[in-house]
Amino acid sequence: MTDQTTHTPAGATTTRKTRETSGILGLKGRDITLMVIVLILTMAAPILLNPFPADSSLAQFNAGYPDLMQRFVIFGIFAIGFNILFGLTGYLSFGHAAFLGVGSYATVWMFKLLNYNILPGLVLSVIVAALFSVLIGYISLRRSGIYFSILTLAFAQMSFALAYSVLTPITNGETGLQVYTSDPQYLQSAGAPDMPHLFGVTMRATETIEIGAWSFTFNFGYYVCAIIMLAAFYMAIRIFRSPFGMMLRAVKSNQQRLNYTGVNPRPYTLAAFVISGMYAGLAGGLMASMDPLAGAERMQWTASGEVVLMTILGGAGTLIGPVLGAGLIKYFENIFSKINDGVLHQWFAFMPDGIEDLLVTIVHPFVGKGWHLTLGLMFMLVVIFLPGGLVEGGQRIATVFRRDRKATNVEDAAAKKRNAK
């Protein structure tokens, strides 16, 4: 098998040239650039996401507060993992929220039984999600295409129903699983913080720095999530560039041909399924670590659909796309949904009364609880005009600039040639 992969010409995203150069941490060429960009973006996020002064009217659009930043990177992890399955093998799972849910429950149970240190919870969340995804993957992967999607959807809805009403002693149903003062917490020492922490530093620990009119919030929990996301992103790059990743692409492009050449694709797809399930479990564990409550809604099909949207919106099969998609959707959910009529009236206050009311009436269905509508329209536009997602959009813009530059270069070269004659 390794023979086959080495003989295969390098795929669309790897070039033979990068293969030959040695890299840092096993990364080469563009991947290093990508990794550095993601590193800078995540580390400087508290500054980048707060571009507007704290008391200006545009502060409404600032996203640099801990809860949302944590959500950006946690759902980034979720989407990166989902993309390993969907982007590489083409298997569209509609049940990934189930793994997110079991990860959350596992972590909260560790809080309840051991103590508030997040490490045991995170480890267990990944393990439980892995076991769970082996079970679901083993059965679901016997079919492909729409049947696979439906099977995963069915499993996820089953898990949701179990968590919501059948297994209430374990999940606390609709109320959500949370930590009570009456819980045993066998390893909780006397002086330890009474909320999720990493060796004594709480996830809530926050330093606010004000520079002029700007206010930037640096939150420990966010940086924990961000570092884990960087590790997850690095892993994803390595998987994408590995022979294993190549095998997965082969499954996507022509599974039949693989079968004919005597390769059994199922171990590969199952491995991809379990890996992406573990990513989801990790994301779920992190969610519970940032806010120690696990609700059954996390497992509902809408949550599974959300990660599909994130991946497609950002660009399925690309490395950074899912992270961008996750960020965009969470931004809409948290920022647009909070614009109410009062805010709209403030915006349009400078206009005459009649026009002000008219504008508010027009904009009203698209903000506040109508944020889904705006997101839906955007999703449609992206799918129709940018099938490759935001990444394709970025590439097109880049190409426009590059073409100009190249064009001048070509002319220069031509001019030189002519002058030389």
């Binding site: 563009r30 650039t33 990508l34 550095v36 960009i37 800078i40 580390m43 400087a44 500054i47 507060y65 801990p66 809860d67 949302l68 959500r71 919501y164 009403s165 209430t168 149903g173 609709e174 109320t175 959500g176 949370q178 009570y180 003062t181 009456s182 009474d194 909320m195 809530r204 926050t206 330093e207 606010t208 720095i209 004000e210 520079i211 206010s215 930037f216 919030t217 640096f218 806010d291 409550l293 609700g295 809604e297 996390r298 690309t318 490395l319 950074i320 796309g321 961008l324 948290n334 949904s337 909070k338 109410n340 506040g368 609880k369 935001l390 990444v391 970025g394 590439q395 880049a398 590059r402």
Partner: protein
């Protein structure tokens, strides 16, 4: 995206900027000119922000919309605009209509979606982004319990809106959380004698229960009370909160040998299940030689409006009703003042959800004013064992042991011939406070611990 032009110079520039930002000493932070500090979101400047977190979507969306109206009205009255509402009748005179402690009240709103997760996310963004010093609202006990836990951790005050589960001030009680609304135990205690006089002591009850903390404790309370007076419980079926069609749950009821159906449902759930029950002819049915009866332990005008004529004759309990002062007299003063200012602004009478949210906002503002500080611990101290009157419920006590309000409970019935769409329920009686008072460590409330008040950072 992947083809970004990352130059060495650009990288160094960004790094330097980041480093400079990180190195800025904290002397430049806001604390330098804060008037108050030492707790989460200490208000600086001349405004204070409150967070109103209500369901704008989901089965309790109607209640949420009415709560939001009440919050807007309360803020208006606190800032001295409008008619002043219950500020005129409130027994405490600390508030002057000039904001809270001289700071103008501003507010942010959020959608809980009637989901614990979404509600906590929304509340967190209010605390972290908007700097809310108090969170109120919620039309589901699951949400209220979840958000109350969050507020305890974050160090802000939670003034529970419409939440009726025993757990909110029972096993999930928190030092930073307060509840004005009554609870399932009080409903049962008030409804018991009325049910006995209406339907006798020999009945067989079938329960349909919303599957979450509120449904569980309501069912438990009703079962305990009715069994104490000789009724028998045939069955208890749990229904998902997100359910919209209950016909499959209603079908087995008549075959079960029961002659009373308890709908432990609220909001959209109750509207749907009652409609289903009436469509299946339960209201006209006979069982065990008696007329079949339907009981809805927790009632509201909004639900009555949703259920229409199906509600006629069905008994239940309420925290408050807009006709209270007109029908039962001066004991419930404040009711008319509130109904009047609400009606002037919105054109119809307020629901009990609106009333409790309005009252909670006033109680919080008053406690801050009396304590002279927004510090959550000072507010807790001011609210504990606070006795007040003139907020529409008669004399009321905020008990220190569990942060629950004790006041009269209103027993109501659906009107047979309503005159208009806002006058759908008639008041049967107001059960006096003594009858609905219980010990803080009553078995249905045991296992909880208020803990210490948490002022946060």
């Amino acid at each position: 995206m992947t083809k970004s032009n990352l130059t060495r110079r650009g990288l160094i520039k960004t790094g330097a900027a980041t480093g400079a930002a990180l190195a800025t000493p904290t002397i430049f932070t806001g604390a330098a000119w804060a008037q108050e500090q030492g707790f989460t979101n200490a208000p600086t400047g001349d405004t204070v922000t409150l967070g109103f977190n209500v369901p704008q979507t989901g089965p309790y969306a109607d209640e949420g919309a009415d709560e939001l109206r009440a919050f807007e009205l309360a803020v208006e009255h606190l800032n001295g605009d409008g008619s002043g509402g219950m500020l005129q009748t409130f027994s405490s005179n600390a508030l002057e209509g000039s904001g809270i402690l001289g700071k103008r009240v501003e507010y942010v709103t959020g959608d809980t979606q009637t989901k614990s997760d979404a509600a906590r996310a929304s509340a967190r963004s209010m605390i972290e982004k908007d700097g809310a010093v108090m969170i109120s609202g919620g039309s589901s006990s699951g949400v209220a319990v979840a958000v109350q836990g969050l507020c305890q951790e974050a160090g802000v005050i939670f003034m529970a809106g419409l939440t009726h589960s025993n757990d909110t001030t029972g096993k999930d009680r928190k030092a930073n959380g307060f509840r004005h609304f009554f609870n399932a135990y009080q409903s049962a205690a008030a409804l018991g004698p009325v049910l006995e006089s209406l339907y006798g002591t020999d009945r067989k009850a079938y329960h349909l229960t919303a599957d979450y903390t509120w449904g569980w404790t309501t069912q438990e309370s009703m079962q305990a009370t009715t069994e104490a007076m000789g009724w028998e419980t045939v069955n208890n079926v749990l229904t998902p909160l997100a359910a919209t069609d209950f016909s499959s749950y209603i079908t087995p009821v008549l075959q079960s040998g029961a002659d009373v159906l308890f709908l432990n449902h609220y909001g959209g759930n109750m509207v749907n299940s009652l409609t289903n029950a009436v469509q299946f002819g339960l209201k006209e049915a006979q069982a065990n030689g008696k007329d079949f009866q339907i009981i809805v332990p927790l009632y509201s005008e909004l639900m009555a409006r949703g259920a229409g004529e199906n509600i006629a004759g069905i008994p239940g309990s309420q925290n408050w009703d807009w006709k209270l002062e007109n029908q039962l007299g001066d004991r419930y003063k404040g009711t008319n003042a509130f109904v009047q200012s609400f009606g002037e602004k919105y054109g119809f009478p307020p629901s009990q959800a609106a009333h409790t949210c309005y009252a909670q906002t006033m109680l919080y503002a008053d406690a801050v004013q009396r304590a002279g500080s927004f510090n959550p611990c000072a507010v807790v101290e001011a609210l504990e064992d606070f006795e007040f009157d003139g907020l529409g419920n008669g004399p009321t006590l905020y008990r220190a042991a569990d942060h629950q309000c004790f006041k009269d409970v209103v027993v109501v019935r659906g009107k047979e011939n309503p005159e208009n769409e806002f006058d759908l329920v008639e008041i049967v009686e107001a059960t006096p406070t003594e009858q609905v008072t219980y010990d803080p460590d009553h078995p249905m409330f045991a296992g909880g611990d208020l803990g210490e008040c948490n002022p946060g950072a």
